[in-house]
Symmetry: C2
DNA sequence: CATTTAACTTGTTTTTTGCAAGTGAGCTGG
DNA sequence: CCAGCTCACTTGCAAAAAACAAGTTAAATG
């Protein structure tokens, strides 16, 4: 897409759109796994955009798609190692947001966990239950 | 914009579009300061989009705009403390890109610096000369 | 003082997103 | 065993954003 060879631009091409990191948050922080789960995210993603993003993240090797062994019409999306390695990036954005989000509705639960025990937080979101 | 209260979503609303972090890279890694500098970035940003992004980043308090004391038709864009605090996020994305970008044109200079001395790299991009 | 430069703005086309509705395979209760 | 529901999408269209091209204004420069 962008052929500059910059590692930052490479990252942005892979997950740097309005939605990818929010889908990954659902997987990492909230343990969500299915298309239906992702459709319910608070920020309200459109169904066609969600389908696009999942396809892109799978193509890029960030997530993988498999059949749900308990329900043959459902699929499970899970993180690859490459996807798990995004945990430090998520963590840094969460810490930055925690520092600067002064809105009354700001939710601080994840921020507090990450501040109290950063390595533990990263390990936890790397391997969501 | 997104009213979820999530610190990650807050961050994405502030700098999570296709271009903001590339403009900030120019400032942090390459010491660029002017509109004309940013127009020349390798990835090719459109002039109206650049104007929009600069306005947005200024509104969000990530950068500030001042007159160039040496040239009255030019302005200097510089990082605020809030903007400087994005350095760890940039660093993590660069490290991730360095790990996974296997394209022949991948540029590894910044990656190597960040790997060799991460704190030094962060300090350097926080305070570009 | 005519030309160039810097920082944009404006207008138009193209791409992406958002929204509503629809499809088809697989489950489920009566 | 089958009508109706659920799940994971797809399709079509409108709205928003991005890309592209050209123009404007104020200030510097030769």
């Amino acid at each position: 897409m962008r052929q500059s060879g910059c590692p930052l631009a490479f990252g942005l091409d892979t997950f740097g759109d309005r939605w990818s990191l929010l889908v990954l948050r659902e997987m990492m922080v909230r343990g969500k796994k299915t298309y239906g789960d992702f459709l319910e995210i608070d920020e309200g993603i459109a169904t066609n955009v969600l389908a696009d993003r999942l396809k892109h993240l799978e193509t890029e090797g960030i997530i993988s798609k498999s059949r749900d062994p308990d329900n043959r019409r459902s699929y499970l999306y899970t993180l690859t190692d490459k996807g798990r390695d995004l945990a430090p990036i998520l963590t840094e954005i969460i810490l930055w947001g925690g520092k600067y989000d002064k809105r009354p509705q700001a939710r601080r639960e994840a921020v507090n966990k990450a501040k109290k025990n950063r390595k533990g937080f990263e390990a936890a979101i790397r391997s969501p239950e």
